[in-house]
Amino acid sequence: MTTTAVAPAFTDTPFVVGGRTFRSRLMVGTGKYKDNATMVRAIEASGAEIVTVAVRRVSLDRTKEEGVLYHLDPSRYFLLANTAGCYTADDAMRYARLAREAGFNEFIKLEVIGDQQTLLPDTTGLLEATKQLAREGFQVMAYTNEDLITALRLEDAGAAAVMPLASPIGSGLGLLNPYHVRIIKSRLTVPVIVDAGVGTASDACLTLEQGVDGILMNTAIADAQDPVAMAHAMRLATESGRAAYLAGRMPKREIAVPSSPSKGMLG
């Protein structure tokens, strides 16, 4: 690993989700890597503590190596199972219950997808599943679109965190709607974590500058030319964005204001 946590020149509040405190505001996925060794090194370089995993059938004439836990030490990372690929509330709840039975934790990254082309969420199904799973004791981290009303309803439904997208999953389009994400953050009590759509480090930085609590990404790292280097960049970008948000940016102006004194110029 090549770095460098930036020495914190600022004090931050702890990052708490569902009653647990985490060190890193960057969460990463484990999918799409060209090989497992690269995945492990990239995750290390990202400094992430929460890593997402998917629930799938074992293949019956398989090798044991296909399970992600064969490569990733579950005592070192906090495993956040997702319900990726589920198109109904019932399916998503079924996957969530299976994931919990694996015995690691009560957290679920809840996805109820509504459309194959955009993978945008079905917010009706999402709300229904959030309500039920929260009742069953899950800490639901709900993947949603950047819509304030849905976000408020998810919070009411018992979500432990609301996860608006930056842009569609795997698109790399970056943060398309900073205003809406900012508005959501300003109105919710539970953590707001932007999930999906960032493409490069500046996207992550810009996202954290909106004041959100964290960011989750997979493809931006896994599909980079050099995933390990990109993971490092994402770590720095997440820390930079957070630090900049806490620092409080200067106001934007339409006209220039000189940085050097106008007094004392030569006559």
């Binding site: 799938r56 044991k64 999953i169």
Partner: protein, 279 residues
């Protein structure tokens, strides 16, 4: 419960129960066959009081030898006489209704064709009485169904008692077809020496054939498995680590600690999942 199901079943009918010495004959067979014998009390003409009286007499005669009293159709009598099992015949109570009367008591169903067999399985019967295998003077109008009725019943993976014209000489092929045990009326009750007849049946009964594989669906694939195998053993057979797999059995999650006590049955559907890379 199933493992202890007797293998020789002395079934009565109206004629047998109408004769004197039925209790005495049952006691003689019980002395010879012990826990391997079940006496089925089946009578359509006896009023309730007499039926129960006979059931109680039989139960007291059988109990010292560990033999079973099985009552046909009359779940109320079975309950009052503390019968070891109930068999519900054609047109009789459903398994569920029998269980309402005698909870915890094994319930068998007599089956003669595909429809009855499938219904019995769907109702959750504990065992099947399948016949008639051969032509029998007890039911001259009933066409014999051959060994096929036994084979098909055994394919449910439930224990099967074959009935209909069975003699010690035919015990071999009936068991080979998948029967757990055999039932007889005349060959036992009409014998000059019922104890010797029971002993002859037991001597002729081979060890039960290992039941045929059962069909199950695992992760969407049709597979064969050993009947009654526990989910834990199945995972071992598949070379899967039970600690790394979550098991859903007929849409119900089975906790890891319960895997060893959960048996697999014909037609079961399993999902075996684990964590893979994902975003």
């Amino acid at each position: 419960m199933i493992a202890a199901l007797p293998r020789l079943h002395a079934v009565t009918d109206d004629r047998v129960v109408g004769e004197a010495r039925v209790v005495e004959r049952a006691a003689a067979m019980a002395a010879a066959a012990g826990p391997l014998l079940a006496v089925h009390l089946r009578a359509r003409t006896l009023p309730g009081g007499a039926f129960l009286g006979l059931a109680r007499d039989l139960a007291s005669a059988l109990a010292p030898h560990g033999s079973w009293l099985v009552v046909n159709d009359r779940a109320d009598v079975a309950r009052a006489a503390q019968a070891r099992a109930v068999v519900s015949g054609r047109g009789g109570l459903s398994v569920k209704d029998v269980r309402r009367v005698v909870p915890g008591v094994p319930v068998g169903r007599s089956v003669h064709d595909d429809a009855e067999r499938e219904r019995a399985k769907a109702e959750g019967a504990d065992f099947l009485v399948a016949g008639a295998v051969y032509t029998t003077p007890s039911h001259p109008a009933e066409p014999p169904r051959g060994l096929d009725v036994v084979r098909r019943a055994a394919a449910t993976s439930l224990p099967v008692i074959a009935i209909g014209g069975i003699t010690p000489a035919r015990a071999d092929e009936v068991v080979e077809a998948g029967a757990w045990g055999v039932a007889a009326i005349r060959a036992l009750w009409d014998a000059a020496d019922p104890a010797a007849a029971a002993a002859a049946f037991l001597a002729a009964l081979p060890a039960p054939a290992p039941r045929a594989d059962i069909g199950v669906v695992i992760n969407g694939e049709a597979r064969r498995a050993r009947p009654g195998i526990s989910l834990l053993d199945l995972l071992a057979d598949l070379d899967l680590d039970a600690r790394a797999v979550v098991v859903e059995h007929n849409r119900r999650i089975v906790r890891r600690e319960a895997l060893g006590a959960t048996p697999l049955a014909e037609g079961d559907s399993l999902e075996l999942v684990h964590f893979v890379g994902g975003g």
